[in-house]
């Protein structure tokens, strides 16, 4: 028994070596895949940030919607505001998760860049952002009619991304 034990380190090392060899043959896939695709949207219950706009509590299911994780202090969010406004004009309903934000800053932001949001939830401590598996702002999620996440777009939405988002919204009906 004790003799066998002495060979244990070698056996362990052989296993590690085999593992590394497998890693060498199959190089790592470095793209980021969302772990939440095709999973139900985590429960969102966010109070309103602005007096004249509702917060986000349920209301998913039925018509597909976008959930946009954003912030007034985030500069790419300014860049994507124009595209979100276009989507709104096309009749897309967008919920905004305001990340670590304050009411006056948000008011200024919306006055400056337009307001494409149906609802804005106050995610001051970033709980919802994290539960969505979002690592930064902005990120945009497509939620289908059954309340499942069907797409995650990382980074600002640019003009060239619109067809892809619209297609996902169409397919999610």
């Amino acid at each position: 028994m004790k003799r066998l034990l002495l060979w244990l380190p070698l056996a362990f090392f052989a296993a590690v070596l085999a593992l590394v060899a497998s890693g060498l043959i199959k190089p790592a896939d470095r793209a980021i895949h969302s772990a939440l695709i095709d999973k139900p949207l985590p429960e969102i219950d966010l109070p309103p940030l602005l007096a004249d706009k509702p917060g986000i509590k349920g209301g998913f299911g039925g018509k597909p919607r976008l959930v946009n994780v954003f912030a007034s202090w985030c500069l790419p969010c300014i860049a994507e505001a124009k595209q979100l406004m276009k989507l709104k004009e096309m009749g897309v309903e967008i919920d905004g998760v305001a990340t670590a934000d304050t009411t006056p800053a948000m008011q200024a932001f919306l006055a400056q860049n337009g307001d494409p949001y149906a609802r804005i939830g106050d995610d001051r401590n970033r709980k919802v952002q994290f539960s969505l598996g979002s690592a930064g702002v902005p990120e945009t999620f497509v939620i289908d009619g059954r309340g499942r996440i069907v797409m995650q777009h990382i980074g600002d939405v640019r003009e060239e991304h619109l067809p892809e988002l619209l297609a996902a919204l169409e397919a999610a009906k």
């Binding site: 004790k2 003799r3 002495l6 060979w7 380190p9 070698l10 090392f13 052989a14 590690v16 070596l17 593992l19 590394v20 060899a21 497998s22 890693g23 060498l24 199959k26 190089p27 790592a28 896939d29 470095r30 895949h33 007034s72 202090w73 500069l75 300014i78 670590a100 400056q112």
Partner: protein, 640 residues
């Protein structure tokens, strides 16, 4: 010509390694004194040749010789001299050459200074060191030759990654490599001892200074690397559990365990097999860490380009060296007789506990680092982040800190719990009071951090007890070393806990003239202006910082733009005050003239690196103390 001379020096060093291996085998089988002398000299020449090769590579970088591929791809003629020099090891091939050079220097060091080890064991050790060197010379010559020419020569180099253009780079990798590769000596010692079946206190006493030296370099390297990442990356963190950081931590953990077990072997002739195992594991971890990460098999910010040829080559070398040594261990260690035994409540017992806890931490770091590979092998992609490491390791580290406090207070062989409890009464009371006070002051802080503060106080006070009732001026240097190193651990834990419990972060977009508060400070953005450096331009924010009624001071965080290669970096501005650091990072500006600013107030965070420095200082004192003592006893023996 210089490149060719460098390559020639490399090949000659390899040839001398062949001779060293042959002579080592010969002398280990019972050669004459002449053979032994020749072996020592050959090892010395091998070291000098490797240093020559490396020196020539540095020269190529200094001259910006763009007809050398490595220089053209990693340097630029407009770089400041220090970064030209550092550029020699800021890339795969150069860093491998540095690695091999340190390996050869370590062998030369043993040949030159080692007088205590039994001659046959020394011969086997030098042979083993040459055998390791050979594999890596082959790797350099066949798979990553740093001296390849570029024809025609490039008109200008592509430059060095600006993140690496920092004084930290000049010292950080060499320091770490001295640590990593210095552990090769422990490895070769263990292999030599296994081959000659010579394991005992004399062997341990011979090995100890080498382990200590490598461990000091590792400690400094890790501490400095942590601070470098902290101020250079601009993320405000000081440890990211990145595979490369883990790669440096794992050998350190193993070496720390080895350092303590070798003391048991030297003093009490116990833990023979375990000490040998640790000596093998420590360097195995160095090799696995360096190569897994550098080869790009593990995804890391530190990885140089992925190259399957190099990866397979390295894997084969790891298989031969680590696999070979572990096989030797399995075959031979059964014949190493058991050393002396001891009770559980004893200095040895505490050191075994320390070893077990360090090993568990090592295992967790190892699993966490390699787990993405396991997942990938079964088709899942994931990465393991800081939460896993923090949650699993923090509690064990705190228990380890408790054991660290207890160990030095126990007697060798056997002790009584009652006296121990009496000795620990004061530190435990102080630690408990500390915990209670901080809990009362800030009940919402994470409880693990508050426990950390309590443990830090307990360990800090308990670590000084070995000095009580001693005549301080006659206390041996290595005791001072132990006390200072253990106090360093306490200081470090205190810093980490304070950072976890009390740091505050503020992310704002500010226009000139606006103010923001972070911690006890008010930060005003006074102006944003251009700034120029030797090979970069920058926008620089001038911040006026006030704290209460005291005199305001200014800080200047920058966004730097390097032209070769075109890159942006954030240069954080950090102000150190007595009770912590204010850390500011300038982000991008928007159309309305608002600038993103990230502000952190990090109370007592400097203790982390102060602790690291104390640990290294303790190691240095212990090393000096041990070497002096060895020398004195050697003198006495020769006079006797």
């Amino acid at each position: 010509m210089i490149a060719e001379a460098g390559l020639a020096a490399l090949w000659m060093a390899a040839a001398f390694a062949v001779i060293q291996l042959a002579l080592g085998v010969g002398a280990a089988r019972g050669g004459s004194d002449d053979l032994m002398l020749a072996l020592r000299r050959i090892a010395l020449v091998q070291g000098v040749l490797a240093m020559l090769a490396f020196g020539l590579l540095v020269m190529l970088f200094v001259q910006s010789d763009m007809s050398v591929l490595l220089v053209a791809t990693n340097s630029h003629s407009a770089k400041p001299l220090i970064y030209k020099i550092a550029g020699a090891w800021g890339n795969h091939e150069g860093s491998m050459l540095l690695w091999v050079t340190v390996l050869a220097m370590a062998g030369a060091g043993v040949a030159l200074f080692e007088r205590r080890l039994a001659l046959k064991t020394l011969a086997a050790t030098l042979g083993a060191q040459a055998f390791i060197g050979l594999g890596f010379y082959a790797f350099l010559a066949f798979a990553s030759n740093p001296f390849v020419r570029l024809n025609p020569a490039a008109p200008e180099g592509q430059g060095l990654n600006p993140l690496l253009q920092d004084p930290g780079l000049a010292f950080h990798p060499p320091t770490l490599y001295f640590g990593y590769v210095g552990l090769s000596i422990a490895f070769s010692f263990a292999v030599g001892a296994l081959i000659m079946r010579d394991v005992g206190p004399a062997f341990a006493r011979a090995m100890r200074p080498w382990v200590l030296a490598a461990w000091i370099f590792l400690t400094i390297g890790i501490t400095a690397g942590s601070y470098w990442a902290y101020y250079e990356l601009g993320w405000g963190g000081w440890w990211f559990w990145d595979p490369v950081e883990n790669a440096s931590l794992m050998p350190w953990l193993a070496a720390t365990a080895l350092l303590h077990s070798v003391t048991v072997l030297a003093t009490r002739d116990g833990l023979r097999a375990w000490t040998l195992m640790l000596a093998l594991v420590a360097f195995a971890m160095s090799m696995i860490g360096t190569f897994l990460v550098r080869s790009g098999i593990l995804v890391s910010v530190h990885a140089f380009a992925v190259d399957p040829t190099r990866g397979s080559f390295i894997l084969a070398l790891l298989g031969i060296y680590i696999g070979g040594a572990l096989a030797l261990f399995g075959a031979r260690v059964g014949t190493v007789t058991q050393g002396s035994t001891f009770r559980i409540v004893s200095r040895e017992g505490a050191l075994v506990l320390n070893n077990l806890l360090l090993t568990v931490i090592l295992g967790l770091v190892f699993i966490g680092t390699l787990y993405p590979l396991v997942a990938q092998a079964v088709g899942v992609q994931l990465s393991i982040g800081a939460p896993f490491f923090n949650k699993t390791i923090a509690p064990i580290a705190l228990v380890l800190a408790l054991a660290t406090a207890v160990g030095p207070l126990l007697n060798w062989r056997r002790d009584v719990l009652d006296t121990l409890a009496r000795k620990l009464l004061v530190p435990a009371a102080l630690g408990g009071i500390g915990f209670a006070v901080f809990l009362a002051l800030n009940p919402r802080a994470p409880v693990i951090a508050l426990i950390g503060i309590g443990v830090a106080i307990f360990l800090g006070v308990a670590s000084m007890l070995p000095l009580v009732r001693r005549k301080l001026r006659r206390t041996p240097l290595h005791i001072w070393g132990m006390v200072i190193a253990h106090v360093g651990v306490a200081v470090c834990i205190g810093g980490v806990s304070a950072d976890v419990a009390y740091k505050t972060e503020r992310l704002t977009a500010m226009a000139v003239g606006q103010k923001a508060a972070v911690g006890p400070f008010t930060v005003e953005l006074v102006e944003v202006r251009p700034a120029l450096g030797p090979n970069w331009s920058a926008v620089e924010a001038r911040l006026k910082v006030t704290r209460g009624s005291s005199k305001p001071f200014e800080m200047f965080p920058q966004q730097r733009f390097f032209s070769a290669p075109p890159t942006n970096t954030s240069e954080a501005a950090i102000t150190t005050v007595l009770d912590g650091q204010l850390y500011t990072v300038l982000g991008v500006g928007d159309a309305e003239g608002r600038w993103q600013l990230r502000l952190w107030w990090k109370p007592f965070i400097t203790l982390i690196w102060l602790g690291g420095a104390l640990i290294a200082l303790g190691g240095l004192l212990a090393l000096i103390g041990r070497v002096l003592r060895e020398r004195r006893t050697a003198d006495q023996e020769s006079y006797a």
